[in-house]
Amino acid sequence: MEIAIHLRVLIGVLCFALVGIIIELIRQNRLKEHYAIIWLCTALSIFVFGIWPDSLNLISRIVQLHHLTTLFLVSFIFLLAIVLHFTLVISQLFDRNRRLTQEVAWLRFEMEQLRQTGEGQG
């Protein structure tokens, strides 16, 4: 499969922009390194498809689909994996948030009890 040169340049620029944004977000402490990995991998795989389009052809031959369909399939599976990953993260955060609210409620209660007994003695 031949990809026009200007399209390859566009893909290349896109990848570098993505990597740039990710690094900047990490630098600004807005993105955890842990989650940056998945985005760096995304950039890398777009880059690979960009400079080496035959990899896509190879996959197309294996799954016996048109290369455009393959591209969509690969992207779709990838996005699906990311969304699943995020749902797992949210579930875990939910559980932790829940415990935290319960701990806060418990500590506040204990604190009030202590303050009352303290006032009783003083």
Partner: protein, 237 residues
Amino acid sequence: MGEILSKKTLIIIPAYNEEGSVARVIENIRRHVPDADILVVNDGSRDRTARMARESGAMVISLPYNMGIGTAVQSGFLFAKEKGYHFAVQVDGDGQHPPSEIPKLLSALDNGVDLAIGSRFVQPTEYRPTFTRSLGIKVFSFLVSLIVGKKIYDTTSGFRAASRKAVLLLTETYPHDYPEVEALITLHRNGMKFVEIPVEMNSRQAGKSSIGAKNAVYYMLKVTLAIFVAIIKRRQR
């Protein structure tokens, strides 16, 4: 009955914006079970629920924001666990659960069951659910009975008393919304015994049902899914 009194009992009242009824509920509980400690779990209420409860002499713990009935009740279980209570009874803050029936639930626990459910349907009562609600109740009853292997009529009742063993388990795992049905499966899967005690429930004194028409579909789907998930979930211990 003498044995019950020697055991420490915690009454847990999960309350979200129940300033209109919580004081009366506490008063009623004190009249019928004078030896029990009363804990109001204020689930991020925006009204004076916490103040009303405190002024009525109950202990109050407050979640920093609204977390849902499951988390509120579990906070009560955690409290019972930490403070070494033998029994924990859940009573709604809206006044529909009659405190006069609490001793019945407690004596069931004293006979060695792990959970006593205050049930609206074992005997005919004045409680009349709407058609859709009645259908949901029947479906859950059918599913739970199938899994548990004995007839359970009122799977959604939140009027329950739990032994310390059950409390310890439920502090580990308790659904955050619509928890009643799923908790039964969890308890069953962990070898706990439960029994239904017929009670006469009141209509609400204030507030409204936590399940509006809009949420009914979600409620049905979530709980049905949860029942099947609870079956395949790994055991806690």
